[in-house]
Symmetry: C2
Subunit: 478 residues, 2 copies
């Protein structure tokens, strides 16, 4: 009975996906609701995933000569007001500090929703000459956006993220950096999170407030909805002109820098849940699984079982596998269910009969496949299996996405495809009114224009019938 109870605690993934999501993130103890509306507590199991994300992404940033730094949480109101589009985009959703130490502040402070303005203020002091460029800083920090409708990881009033901010001597170099960092995100999403993504440029309406151009990686969730999983912005000289970031170039002229910013957040954790989960709960890609292999002793009361289990645990640990030996006083079935719900990629079972045969049973979380393997060289067998699971999970996610991505050349096809929970790739006129009408009628929004978008010569907009100027992905989204 205990076995059943675990599973029935989670809503049916096919009947109520949103409730399934909430059940999974709460019951696996990844997250809890905070006392202030829209805030979350990232519990140890969720935070361990974030640490693995941080570590692996941070290494990639450093390979690109990005340095970490820390900029203040509080931004003077006057900073936010400097860049016209930026203030319009962010002012309605910020939290305001008005009092400090029992005194009313002379100027209100914004709790950072993003740090372009305060970083620009510092860059204007630090950058003097072409020798100071490029300057590339990143920070891992918390940001606050006063959201109305919130969901753990996906949209919360406070979240954790990284924000990279770079300034360059030329527009070309800044544009290049924007794309380079987008590609870092793409490669990371695929190889670490096992999430395939569409890369491309956002529409004018969907771009970052203050950017010249925004690029994104877009992932498909199991319910066919899109999750914008990371963005990279080419900011041009919008901010450098209002914050006066100038440098003396080699040719002796004073010039404004060109700028980029790019970020991913704890929202990625929600993406992992919604790309890989199933009716039993979480499925974690090995690269971000806090526990990669759980060892469950069978008939643990029998002589030698616990000792053997411990021996294997130590051997795997020594080989840099994140392993947990579950020696609690509970039935194996109960343990199987718990660790399946928690998404541990590989389970290793070992009982008296296995020991007799010098074998162990490995069970894959992604396919439920059961494999009998020799205890000789078990550390490499597990390592290889984890690598296989990582690869197969990406391919499974890709297959799901590709099966739910289609083209539409006319409005009927478009509507049907969106209703059937697809990403729809379609010719479009790029007009804001048309974009808003499509959203109103179908709930779908533009995702991005791929870099290799086919020609639209002679095509008409899938919705309004005017001349199409591009091809773009549409989808309902989180």
């Amino acid at each position: 009975m205990a076995e059943k109870q675990f599973v029935t605690q989670i809503a049916d993934i096919n009947e109520d996906f949103p409730q399934w999501y909430t059940d999974v993130v709460l019951k696996t103890e990844m997250v809890d609701y905070g006392p202030v509306k829209g805030t979350m507590i990232i519990r140890p199991y969720g935070y361990a995933i974030w640490e693995l994300i941080q570590k692996q992404l941070d290494g990639r940033f450093k390979e690109h000569d990005v340095q970490n730094a820390y900029f203040p949480l509080f931004i003077p109101e006057s900073f936010l007001m400097k860049e016209a589009e930026h203030v319009e985009g962010f002012a309605p959703e910020v939290a305001w500090v008005t009092h400090g130490g029992n005194e009313k502040l002379a100027e209100r402070l914004v709790v950072r929703p993003t740090s372009e303005t305060i970083i620009c203020d510092m860059y204007s002091k630090w950058v003097q000459s072409w020798r100071d460029l490029p300057l590339k800083c990143n920070q891992w920090c918390n940001v606050v956006r006063w959201e109305k409708a919130t969901r753990p990881f996906l949209r919360t009033s406070e979240f954790l993220w990284q924000e990279g901010h770079t300034v360059h001597a030329t527009e070309e170099e800044a544009r290049q950096e924007t794309i380079t960092m987008l590609n870092v995100y793409r490669e990371f999403a695929e190889n670490v999170l096992a999430i395939p993504v569409f890369c491309g440029q956002k529409s004018e309406k969907e771009k970052f407030a203050g950017a010249s151009a925004t690029y994104s990686i877009e992932a498909m969730m199991l319910d066919g909805k899109a999750l914008q999983a990371g963005t990279s912005h080419f900011l041009g000289d919008h901010f450098s002109k209002v914050f006066d970031i100038k440098f003396l170039d080699k040719d002796g002229e004073l010039k404004f820098v060109n700028q980029t910013s790019w970020g991913v957040s704890t929202r990625l954790i929600g993406g992992i849940v919604m790309v890989h989960g199933d009716e039993r709960g979480l499925k974690l890609p090995p690269a971000v699984a806090p526990i990669q292999t759980v060892i469950v002793p069978i008939a643990a009361h029998k002589e030698g079982v616990n000792e053997k289990a411990e021996e294997i645990a130590n051997l795997l640990k020594k080989n840099d596998i994140r392993v947990k030996l579950d020696d609690r006083d509970a039935s194996p079935g109960w343990k199987f269910n718990e660790w399946e719900m928690k998404g541990v990629p590989v389970r290793l079972e070992i009982g008296p009969k296995d020991i007799e045969k010098n074998q162990a049973v490995l069970v894959r979380r992604d396919t439920h496949e059961k494999i009998f393997v020799s205890l000789d060289n078990i550390e490499n067998t597990v390592k290889e299996l984890l690598a296989t699971v990582q690869k197969d999970m990406l391919e499974a996610a890709r297959a799901h996405r590709d099966a739910h991505t289609c083209n539409a050349e006319n409005w009927e096809e478009f509507k049907e495809a969106i209703e059937n929970k697809n990403f729809v790739y379609a010719p479009w006129c790029e007009e804001k009114e048309c974009e808003e009408a499509i959203k109103k009628e179908t709930g779908a929004t533009t995702r991005n224009v791929p870099f290799d978008a086919e020609s639209v010569e002679g095509c008409t907009c899938v919705h309004c019938g005017k001349k199409a100027t591009t091809r773009i992905y549409f989808a309902k989204s989180y």
Copy 2:
């Protein structure tokens, strides 16, 4: 001349220590002032030190089964108000959020000055049974305290820190945890930061607002002042009673948990500067030096010099030494000064004559000693030298501290010792009025009572002459 300029940019360490400190932290580009009063930007060179602190301390926490998590920045006003001493201690120095998303909030929010209250609120949900205990979470985050007099790293309105929060089934276990974590800090300060510390218990006046007992590690700066470098609090059941953190014990009874909290902050970076620096600037212990060895090619225009320098750099890198090859177009002397100011522990010089002799010149930052070494096995030679520097820096700091620590049995001795910039260990009555009078007269505050404090039988208080009840360290402090 360039050589001189670097040094003269820094105030004389013997004449104006506070200005020397400010010059060093700004000119080495560790930190900059933020636009909001009392805030700082931790620049890449300073942040890299913080990352090394984080990594090495976090590993120690995890060895003690502490798990990382993340709790919200905003705390409802009502939470702060629950524990009487806590609110008295923190309410006067918090920042208040009153508006979110253009609307006035129903309840004001505190920007966390510390997270006991919000963590207790969650623990009261998470803890039900003795099986849930002990529960040990830590978070690395920013906190805000509206300070009047601020200095980079040492006291800022916003700073970064870690705060560990544990709950236990028994008072004894919680008291044990408090001391265990204090010892983690002591060992870390000594072996990683090369800072010797006095461990012990704070006075009633100096303890954390809401704690039963506070313990600290106290370090001596080069000017003889104390820096409280880390604290560990035994909170008893003060918070668990007001936040209702109860568990069903093995004996079937509902009991309140016993609790600890402990933290260190970016203030440690200021401590490193003020314990180890000299007239030329920073001196970084190798364990927290972002660059452990800088390679400066001599007569770099000569054939083969740059190639050899690069070859050595790659070899050291491969051996996990944090190395930088300074191949900029500047004089060696200019480079020497810059890297000395930035505190790089070992400089490696290599020129045509060295290559001829199959040697390199190593220069220690801590002692200025110049050592000619063979290029054979250079990676191990450098590694061993770094280990020696690390050890010797701790011993040098210990020697300085011990030379400036003394006993005082009467008030004349006490005043003279404090005037002469000493830590003074003296018998004391433990009365708050006496503590305040001592501070008023001499500027010295109580630091802590060591665990092995000698008996005070028959002794009188060094200040008021009443019966002494303990022996405690006094010092002026940051």
